[in-house]
């Protein structure tokens, strides 16, 4: 068996088949170790895939030995590769850091089921990315969504369940809309393979079903991606989920929906009429509104996790704004921001998870002077916060800079958009500063200073802290040496715009 040839398949089936195994063999502590090992294996596979892609290959795999469009084909190019890196990297880092936090939040006997769901979530997300088949995307979307609901439902708070229920209903509507859209395209083209579909869609005379299909696919995936104003499920889901689940989902959950959305818009609907222009005109105002409104809400939000969740909604706005420019540099910026935002938000939520080990209440006010007892975590939060704002030297700067460059290319209208990016970055300074100010506030209690210092417990160095520091270091590394994600992002935009293959 040639290992290299099976890479795209292994990416999906290893976490998929590991899930039932973990439920089957449930000795104590095994679930976490096996899940983490599987996640690292997945990460290794996606690195191997990325290496092949950078060498100029496009990986194809015929499932069941049936050629497309008869069977299901897996197809991995640069755009898929960068998203695969995001998913499996986020999974590996959040899982290795997760042990103590999960032990705190999930009872022992429920852990095998919980970790099995985590593996299914990984398998579902990567399954959506590697496949080149519209219906297969739906199947894996179902797996990842169901697993996502289970993961979020693990939250300790009773308010978790209403949050999950809302997400479940909205997520199901999103998936159903996607399926209706795919059904209509199938009706008019007779195929489910994406490449085949893109070719056959061109010659169709009766365009109404395709037009309506485009609307259904767009709205369905926008619901999943939490595009403003369809984001209402996200803040509560992120806030009440177990902390480590928030790290994982915030880093990659919505981005996979964005990935599928861009694939459909650029490769299938691109070929017909003025679709791209309409898509841009529709998407851009939503993206801009999302950036401004969600940032403002984050500004006035008192709960740390919910504040970061609203900031995520704004970041989805940035990603889609880049795409709505319809230019090479715009899509490059957009793809790059997917990668960098995963790093930044992952680091921020890791810091939140670390705070949660000592502070039960995560409202910003109750974290007062936390920097005294948790200096490393607080410092890491500051760096990751700078990356979120987009300060030079961090990963966040690179993608925002790319985005502004892409906007400037568009000419006259560009200044308004640049203004919006700058204003929202200033708002980000506002909300991040509010947290930093609280963290580093001088304690105002009556005790003499020396006594207070002695009573403070020293920060425990565990895997969570190490993972946090590693992720923050990556934020700086990719801010100084953005080569790898930038190359992949540039290749992605060429693929989406069909400049070359």
């Amino acid at each position: 068996m040639d290992f290299a040839q099976h890479l795209p398949a292994l990416q999906v089936i290893v976490p998929l088949l590991a899930a039932p195994l973990i439920v089957l063999l449930q000795p104590r502590g095994f679930a976490w170790a096996a899940t983490t090992a599987t996640a690292f294996f997945s990460f290794a596979v996606s690195i191997a895939i990325a290496v092949r892609i950078l060498a100029g290959d496009i990986l194809r795999y015929e499932m069941g030995g049936w050629f497309a469009p008869i069977g299901i084909e897996l197809r991995v190019d640069a755009f898929s590769a960068i998203v695969l890196l995001i998913i499996s990297g986020a999974a590996a880092i959040s899982l290795i850091a997760a042990r103590n936090s999960i032990n705190q939040q999930i009872e022992d006997h429920r852990q095998p089921l919980f970790f099995a769901a985590w593996l299914l979530a990984i398998a579902g997300l990567v399954g959506m990315v590697v496949t080149a088949d519209a219906f297969n995307i739906f199947v894996f979307m179902e797996i990842s969504s169901l697993a996502g609901y289970i993961l979020i439902a693990g939250g300790p708070d009773r308010r978790t369940l209403p949050a999950v229920f809302k997400y479940l209903i909205i997520g199901t509507i999103g998936a159903t809309f996607y399926l209706i859209g795919v059904g209509m395209i199938y009706m008019m083209t007779g195929t489910l393979n994406l490449e085949d579909m893109a070719q056959r869609v061109v010659g169709i005379e009766d365009q109404r079903p395709i037009l309506v299909a485009a609307a259904f696919v767009f709205i369905g995936l926008a619901l999943k991606a939490a595009l403003f104003p369809l984001h209402v499920w996200l803040p509560n889901a992120y806030t009440h989920a177990p902390h480590m689940v928030t790290v994982f989902l915030a880093a990659c959950g919505t981005k996979v929906a964005v990935y599928v959305l861009l694939r459909f818009q650029f490769s299938i609907f691109q070929s017909f009429g003025e679709h791209l222009l309409q898509f841009a005109l529709f998407l851009m105002p939503l993206a801009l509104l999302g950036i401004i409104v969600a940032s403002l809400v984050a500004m006035f939000e008192g709960h740390l996790k919910r504040m970061l969740a609203f900031s995520s909604v704004a970041q989805i706005g940035y990603i889609l704004m880049g795409a709505s420019l319809m230019s090479d540099s715009g899509i490059t910026a957009s793809t790059l921001h997917m990668f960098n935002h995963a790093l930044t938000k992952g680091a921020l939520f890791l810091a939140v998870a670390k705070f949660a080990t000592q502070y039960a209440d995560l409202r910003i006010d109750s974290l007062k002077s936390a920097a005294r007892s948790m200096p490393l975590t607080s410092f890491a939060f500051v760096i990751a916060g700078l990356s979120l704002i987009g300060v030079p030297g961090t990963a966040g700067f690179i993608s925002k800079w790319q985005l502004i460059m892409a906007i400037m290319e568009t000419g006259n209208m560009g200044f308004i958009m640049v203004a919006i990016v700058v204003i929202s970055s200033l708002i980000a300074v506002g909300y991040i500063w509010r947290v930093i100010e609280t963290l580093y506030a001088i304690p105002t209690d009556d005790l003499p200073d020396d006594a207070a210092d002695v009573s403070v417990k020293p920060e425990k160095i565990d895997m969570l802290l190490i993972a946090l520091i590693f992720t923050v270091a990556m934020n700086i590394y990719f801010g100084l040496v953005p080569g790898l994600p930038l190359t992949l992002a540039e290749l992605s935009s060429k693929i989406l715009l069909k400049v070359e293959f």
């Binding site: 068996m1 089936i13 899930a19 039932p20 439920v23 795999y61 499932m63 069941g64 008869i70 179902e142």
Partner: protein, 331 residues
Amino acid sequence: MTIVFAIFLLTMLVITAVAIVQSSNLFVSVMLTSIFSLLMSTNFFVLDAADVALTEAAVGAGITTVIFLSALALTATQEKPNRSGRGIALIVVGLTASLIIYATFDKPRLGDPDAPVHQHVAPYYLDNTMEQMGFPNVVTAVLSSYRGYDTLGEVFVVFAACIGVLFILDARTGTGPKYVTRKMTGLRHHLIPQVVGRILVPFIVLFGLYVQFHGEYGPGGGFQAGAIIATAFILYSLLEGEQAALRAVPRSAQLGLVICGALMFGMVGVLCMIMGGEFLDYSVLMENPVTARQIGIIVIEAGVGMAVCGAMLSIFHAFAARSAEDTDEAV
């Protein structure tokens, strides 16, 4: 004649749907959704989709209703009066419906042989199934071989649903119940359902096995068979009570069925890779590719059946155990 029948069915479908929304009694709504599924199943049958009709009847009208009812046992039967937002909901649904209707103006005529769906991949399946698989049911061929990867995905959707219910309801997966209840459960004191049900159970299982193993030649396959067999066990537990049913098939066995089913399917795929083919390429399993595919399909269909049956039973018993606990606490 068919068209009259179809219009009648579709009209009934709309009426049922409106009734479901209108009714504030949840019990009534659940029964109506069951009728809705049955009507839908008949519709599929009118459209000559026998496999889908069988699935819809077994899963939609059968098991889903039972699971809804057991969930209902945990909550109130009356919907809370909440009329806010109904106007907006109606507008959104109306808009969506009119969009879909707008799209159908250009849709190919029903059954048009020139429609794209009948011109592209479908002829390949129709022409080659007999030669490549050695059996006539094209639907089974598509589900289990040509698009077997989708079916594997669906099995894992069922698996995810099952562990999700167990995780959220926190039903223990260990052996045996935590305590023994003395009180009579089930329908033991009702003589007629008892007698009729007892006669029915073995026949339902037999029919399920027929659907399972005849799937290559007639409508049916793992999904339908798993649901039908699960129905038999659920009927048994309704008649004899929760405890007796758990003695017959303990919780660990139910979960074991799901896991083994899912793994069996996956492992066949992995075996194909080891033997030098692609994942789920059954033809490499033996020298003669047609026989190899048949064997592969029988094994994975068995896996599908086990997984679906186990998942349905696990979900049902998770709800049933929860309601038993609640009544105990109340007493």
